[in-house]
Symmetry: D2
């Protein structure tokens, strides 16, 4: 039922990228052997998605080099690259990190793509369902990720659906996606197997597809904006289905710019933000004062988060 | 079957916006009476969509004022505002137009939103199906817009589906959307009317909805970037379903900045771009030379477009 | 010696802006009386500079309105505007703040303008010395801001120059600026008072002016990006000469969006960032452990800053 | 009189970049031999400036690859890369060109840097005179570029200053720059050769330097935005002192992406924009009608430009 024309596209792409993987050139540019190893390899994500590195520019040294043109000779004093990169990260100097760039080929469900694209400072070329035909590939959660809606917190999941009920939901998702895709193909009537009537315009027929269908794009971004993306999307509060992409890209980043990655873990991923009130509370507590929630001046939620952050009883 | 909670949201929004419409304040800011008339009014687009102006900043004079700080006293010579605005538009001086800003509330199908969002230089707050429940509203083309796929040109429509076949397509779109939405509500089980089992997380359940479902957002953009959007999306080659939004916004722009609008029609919407070869061909033709396609050095498509542009036989 | 033509420009602008101040219109748009009071009034900065608000769009409610379209009905639970705005600020939700926009007319020395323009997400129309003639206005620090170079820290000032030496420096700055400007005017020879020779092109003659000469621009920015600017430029580590502009704008922001301003103080200006290591150290300390610098795993500088932050002996 | 410390910086940078030039790595990435040849080589511009390519990402094929993911299989029909790139350029499809990125190290006078930085969609790390000491290098026009101010057109140059007058201007520029720099060094008093008084803070002392002094930066930009820069700055109406940088970069672009460069010449550099009225006038003229300026509906300036474009008598 799947059009052979349609599959051609993806197969060709894959073949092209594999061919690129086989080639090797001489360059004077900064080159990262650990990332070269990953180049063009699809890193699987979700049931049909992937991330693959298509190109990159710069390395840890490029960050240092850019910082030196800015801060000049003086950086000799903090000349060790690791120290300088940590210093830049700690003080939110973003421009040196912008000197590194990476290009990824990503296959992802449309509802994930709709979150992702909100990061505006990146370059994107997406597969167009206006011009081409989408593949019969849609996302269905694995049973352990079939989460229930939290009743206390609209933004969260709470527990996992189980048993027959879970199975009903999974069947429903599969059946609706399958039927919608079959009808999409029927409306397109590309191979005229459904009769000799005209096909509906592709740009219209696609409207029948649910947002769990996969799309794909090239996504190119500088390291500063990539870290901003990762900080938000690798966060435990991010939706699981985009977090797994962020996790895959964290591994790519580690291979690419290991010094920046260490600094990123220290000053972003593992770091914490204290409010003005929070700073004063910790000061008082360190000075030996006992403080209760009622005295804190914080909202309940902030109070709990602060206690949890420092592993202190509430 | 529709949750009353869900509808509340939209009703509340509408009520809020209508209330705003009833208010009136004193301001020293540049004010455009013709746009004040339109403020908060929904301008209907497609079967359930709309555009409404929520706020704006600046007017034709703001463009002139900004140009004067840039070009100084000298602009007194072209002091007439209309002339200066045309001059700026003709010479692609974009920054003075950036001094005007407009904020729209738009309701639009998701597949249109996915095209629209590609214009990155704008501010967007979209209704989140991760946190809230989408309405039972989906787009179905009216019969006269149920276009067939062009066989010669993948990017185009060709003719309109007709008769029983058209009806089958429309029924299919409606049925699939309806079933997907019913199942979405079943999976959410917000009111527990489908049994006391846990609801699927909203951020997951939404994946069952096709991209013809409506979403909504606030979209804020400066006049320069708005014109860029309009030039691409009000173009005859743009997909009909986004073009109608662009057309509605063209009317808004005309009420807001009439001088800029006139210049926009003259130097953008009605203007033409000639390639280097095209310029030389017109030169030779005006000098009395006869030129055939074969001598032109143009591709067939460019040759046809050039002849059509100047209403000359091919 | 100053060209009357040149002064015309600024005088005309001032007159125009004062005239605007006298006007009053009816509008349905969100209006902030406290900011209307400030509209068009120059707020003096440095010896010849100023900031004045030329236009604005949105208020605290616009932030809430945008957040509600994103997060939907659920926000009713945190329905109090102040709470919602603090929540958005605390969780780095930037898009609702982008819904507010402000336009400033700023007069500032060129070396300050060169720092300022590095904030790229804003719209700018600058007075052009290519087309117009700059005024004889340059910045000379007041004696109490004539700081010495720190020997330990290249990025800092240390103490203030005093006595005769300070006077020599001030005289030098004034004399060089005056001579350069006189020669600029001589080269331009606009009024031919220096002989009937041709004037040097303005775009060339300007190259003789030091970067302490004043320029001016319209600068339009959304609230999110404005806060980013203020966080960096109102910081004690920012250069004094740009910090005073940031301080003036902080007052503008307070009049404009008082709820956002409170949240900005709590979660940005007065807030602190702890590294992953810093979090663990505070945990251990709160658990009663004594920790020395040597055991901390921090750099000396980070150790000192952490101790100072919590007012703890090193 | 020049501080040896100061020169260290630039010498070190140069040595670093030369060392990079000597290295060679294996890479799987798209590589352009003609650009590798240019890598790290300073291309001289003006009296002390240069452009040098420090890194790049992508080639003509990367544009095609990105377009294919967007437009899919169908592009096989226009499969020849040259044709596809021309098609993309002609139809203003910008995103495929954004997939290529280049990083330049540029040394340029501050007044040129101030124009250049107005192109906001790029990444910049500039040498900071707040932290470091600027070199004694300033721009003085060569005699043939010492243009007079046009009397009819404020934005233009008209003729060249000559004889003793020209010499006076050149001397004035040199003397003012030299004196300002000497005084800058005196105020800094880095080596205490001017007495043991404290040095003025670097961030203050720099204010004494005219804008013809050289600064330097790393500038990283994607191909789409680079072409936008080149179209505006390689234009005959751009100021000579920035145009020479654009010209040098045009040569870089030609070596890097020769197919895109050809398309850029055809559809941008050599192309012309006709207004709506202009299109109708050419139509009428091609249909044999005689048209005078008075009948044209164009401004005088537009009329002249139209006649010149097509080499037609006015």
């Amino acid at each position: 039922m799947t059009s052979p024309l349609k599959l051609d596209l993806v197969d060709t792409q894959t073949a092209e990228l594999d061919e690129l993987r086989g080639q090797s050139y001489q360059t004077r540019r900064a080159t990262v052997p650990a990332l070269e190893e990953l180049l063009y390899k699809p890193l699987p994500v979700l049931d049909h998605g992937f991330v693959r590195v298509v190109d990159y520019m710069g390395d840890d040294s490029a960050i240092v080099q850019a910082a030196r043109v800015s801060y000049g000779k003086g950086t000799k004093q903090v000349s060790e690259d690791r120290g300088l990169i940590r210093y830049l990260m700690r003080h939110w100097h973003s421009t040196p990190f912008e000197m590194c760039e990476i290009k990824l080929h990503v296959k992802l469900p449309m509802f994930v793509a709709r979150q992702w694209i909100r990061h505006r400072t990146a370059n994107v070329n997406e597969y167009s369902a206006r011009y081409s035909i989408l593949d019969r590939e849609f996302y269905v959660p694995s049973p352990e990720h079939l989460s229930a809606q939290s009743k206390s917190n609209r933004q969260g999941r709470a527990g996992v659906l189980e048993g027959e009920h879970a199975q009903n939901v999974l069947n429903m998702l599969k059946e609706d996606a399958t039927r919608c895709y079959d009808n999409y193909m029927w409306m397109l009537n590309e191979d005229e197997s459904k009769g000799d009537h005209d096909g509906l315009a592709r740009e219209l027929a696609r409207m029948n597809l649910p947002v769990n269908f996969y799309t794909q794009w090239y996504w190119k971004v500088d390291l500063h904006n990539l870290m901003h993306f990762l900080r938000l999307r690798a966060d435990p509060h991010a939706q699981y289905e985009i977090r797994v992409y962020a996790d895959a890209i964290l591994n790519v980043m580690k291979a690419w710019v290991p010094l920046a990655f260490d600094a990123f873990e220290e000053y972003r991923l593992g770091a914490a933000q204290l409010s003005a009130t929070g700073v004063r509370l910790v000061q008082r507590r360190l000075a030996g004062e006992k403080i209760t929630y009622e005295q804190s001046g914080l909202s309940k939620r902030e109070w709990i988060e602060l206690c949890e952050l420092f592993d202190v009883s509430q």
